[in-house]
């Protein structure tokens, strides 16, 4: 039972981590608090659903189409909507408020478009819903895929961020954007790239989640909030932090559900999150330095 709970928790945490990593890039590096993040995911989920049901494409293959799509869409959103706000904001606080308000609007727009196209129905298809046995515990292959993807993306990006000049420039923008031009970094381009990369990760998360979770045009907010919690827990802009915080949350939920009461899983999530915030306001792993 313990092993089953442990593995189930890790697998669930993989989903949370996958969802949160894009947001941590967008908020930590591009400094956009993107409330429409979940809507990006849901859009990707719908795209996967359409490609799967209309064209019969395999959702894994969908990733190859949808992830670049998420990148381009987010790239355009940053260039058109966020850039003017970044330019005009005097300080981080002003940008935070502006980006909250603007992406709140964007959330409604995307949601509205999805509602018009798809209606308010529950969408569900299942893919790779086959058991895989790990150390005696059966987990769904699609959820395992989320965990593997989260680990792969998390570790790869972490290595790129810390071991390459390219990654170091991105971190430089995260920690001191005003100084970045002094070493020839185009802050706008870097931030736009980070935002777009975050969008690509959101799209990847959306596709994977659509394989096993029922979704509607309006369910994006749930993902945004979960992702926000993981991001703050892990430390803003910190990829490994998001990965660890996601896994921890998954374990907490599973253990509470198994050993305490499934009715308290979400209460436990928020309780732990709030306690952690009070104990370490900067998050488990501090700020954006890695």
């Amino acid at each position: 039972m313990l092993m089953t709970a442990l593995i189930a928790g890790l697998v669930l945490g993989g989903t949370y981590a996958l969802v949160a990593m894009g947001l941590t890039l967008q908020y930590g590096i591009a400094r956009i608090m993107n409330l429409a993040y979940g809507e990006t995911m849901i859009t990707a989920a719908f795209a996967a659903f359409i490609l799967q049901s209309a064209l019969g494409l395999n959702p894994i293959a969908d990733l190859l189409l949808i992830v670049p799509g998420g990148f381009l869409l987010s790239w355009a959103i940053y260039a058109l909507m966020m850039r003017p706000l970044v330019t005009r904001s005097r300080d981080r606080g002003a940008l935070e408020i502006d980006s909250i308000l603007a992406t709140f609007g964007l959330l409604f727009v995307i949601q509205g478009v999805l509602l018009v196209i798809f209606g308010a129905n529950y969408m569900s298809y299942s893919y790779l819903n086959v058991p895989v046995s790990i150390l005696g515990a059966n987990v769904a292959a699609n959820r395992l895929l989320a965990l593997v993807l989260a680990l792969a993306i998390g570790v790869t990006l972490y290595l790129l961020m810390t071991r390459t000049r390219w990654g170091t420039t991105i971190r430089a923008v995260a920690v001191a954007p005003q100084s970045a031009p002094l070493v020839g970094i185009d802050v706008n381009r870097t931030a736009r790239f980070a935002f777009a990369l975050g969008g690509a990760l959101a799209a990847a998360g959306g596709v994977v989640i659509s394989m096993y979770q029922t979704f509607t045009a309006t369910s994006g907010v749930v993902f945004t909030m979960k992702a926000l919690i993981v991001v703050i827990m892990g430390g803003v802009g910190n990829l490994l932090g998001a990965l660890s915080a996601g896994l921890i949350l998954g374990m907490v939920e599973t253990f509470v559900a198994t050993y305490v009461d499934p009715g308290l899983t979400l209460a436990a999530t928020y309780g732990i999150f709030l306690a952690l915030l009070l104990w370490r306001p900067q998050g488990l792993f501090g700020k954006a330095a890695r």
Partner: protein, 324 residues
């Protein structure tokens, strides 16, 4: 100055009286509109009471709103109505003090997310309690009074909130809040007890919000966590206050009234494209009116006055330097 003050007050009193008599002249739907308006003006003004000067953006509005509603649902058959309201205010106050004490260390986005998490936590705990202890989830509120009475109560609360807000703005407490909003370190070194000041305002704001929830609850007959802990309430409140300008007495009201009417108009005329239009409007507002409606109005006024004001402005620094 005092003349103007007296004039301002009598004008406000007249407006209040007109609003109080409105239900006799308009239909039930308009009363419903007025309830919504009074509710959101109060919510956003109460929100701005704390969050405006301190710049602590709170998303816990619905936590207190819901607590108010739930208290009424739980007690309406046990206690007389005024006591029910009093109990709601007490519960709100207690929770606000606990939360306030524990969140004083947090700032910026951490406070934002904390308060959001708090609202969800309260919702989960209420749900869990109802499911496991009382064994029911929905509760019924059958009250003997109608929407007019709800409206009058809200209107009175709204007037009280604005009056309190006006008083605080002119008081030492108001200045303390502005200083805290600018720089907490300086505030402490000026001798301000930051913790107590923030706590007092947070509690006051929370109690008002709790009362809004308590007063509005009988309108829905049936209460369940999904209905009263709807996070939209927190977001709307925040956006109305920010839109109007959270640092000014009438700012939140000026954000709440047009936005509320806009929502109403949009949902009536474009039910299918409501979200899209609303979203686009939002984005447009952020781009066209940075700093809120009131700031925009003020800037427009300042612009038209510039011609006369200029002469004065130029002289001031000159005299200062001459004396140096």
């Amino acid at each position: 100055m005092t003349m103007r003050l007296a004039f301002g007050f009598s004008l406000a009193a007249a407006a209040l009286a007109a609003l109080a008599f409105a239900p006799f002249y308009v239909g039930p739907y308009q009363v419903g509109l007025l309830i919504g308006l009074a509710g959101y003006v109060t919510l956003s003004s109460a929100w701005a009471l704390f969050s405006g000067p301190t710049r602590y953006v709170s998303l816990a509005t619905v936590a207190f709103f819901g607590i108010g509603a739930y208290t009424v649902a739980a007690l309406n058959e046990i206690l007389p109505y005024p006591l029910v309201l009093l109990a709601a205010a007490g519960v709100g106050l207690g929770i606000a003090l606990i939360v306030g004490l524990s969140t004083l260390r947090l700032a910026g986005v951490y406070f934002v997310i904390f308060t959001f998490g708090l609202a969800e936590l309260v919702r989960q705990l209420v749900t869990w309690y109802e499911v496991n202890v009382t064994g029911t989830l929905g509760r019924y509120i059958f009250m003997s009074f109608g929407p007019e009475e709800i409206y009058w109560q809200l209107l009175a609360l709204m007037a009280a909130t604005l009056f309190v807000s006006w008083c605080i703005g002119r008081s030492r407490l108001g200045l303390a809040l502005k200083i805290i909003g600018d720089d907490e370190v300086v505030a402490a070194h000026c001798g301000i007890d930051i913790a107590r000041t923030k706590l007092a305002l947070f509690a006051l704001s929370a109690v008002i919000i709790t009362l809004v929830g308590a007063i509005q609850a009988p309108r829905w007959t049936y209460i369940e966590p999904g209905i009263v802990f709807n996070p939209t309430v927190s977001f709307l409140t925040l956006i109305m206050a920010l839109l109007g300008g959270a640092n000014r007495l009438w700012g939140p009201a000026l954000g709440a009234v047009p936005l509320f009417l806009l929502f109403e108009w949009l949902s009536a005329n474009f039910p299918d494209h409501y979200s899209i239009i609303l979203g686009l409007l939002f984005i447009a507002i952020v781009f066209i009116l940075p700093g809120g409606v009131l700031a925009f109005v003020e800037r427009a006024l300042a612009h038209s006055k510039r011609v006369t004001g200029n002469a004065e402005r130029v002289r001031e620094p000159g005299t200062a330097e001459a004396r140096q």
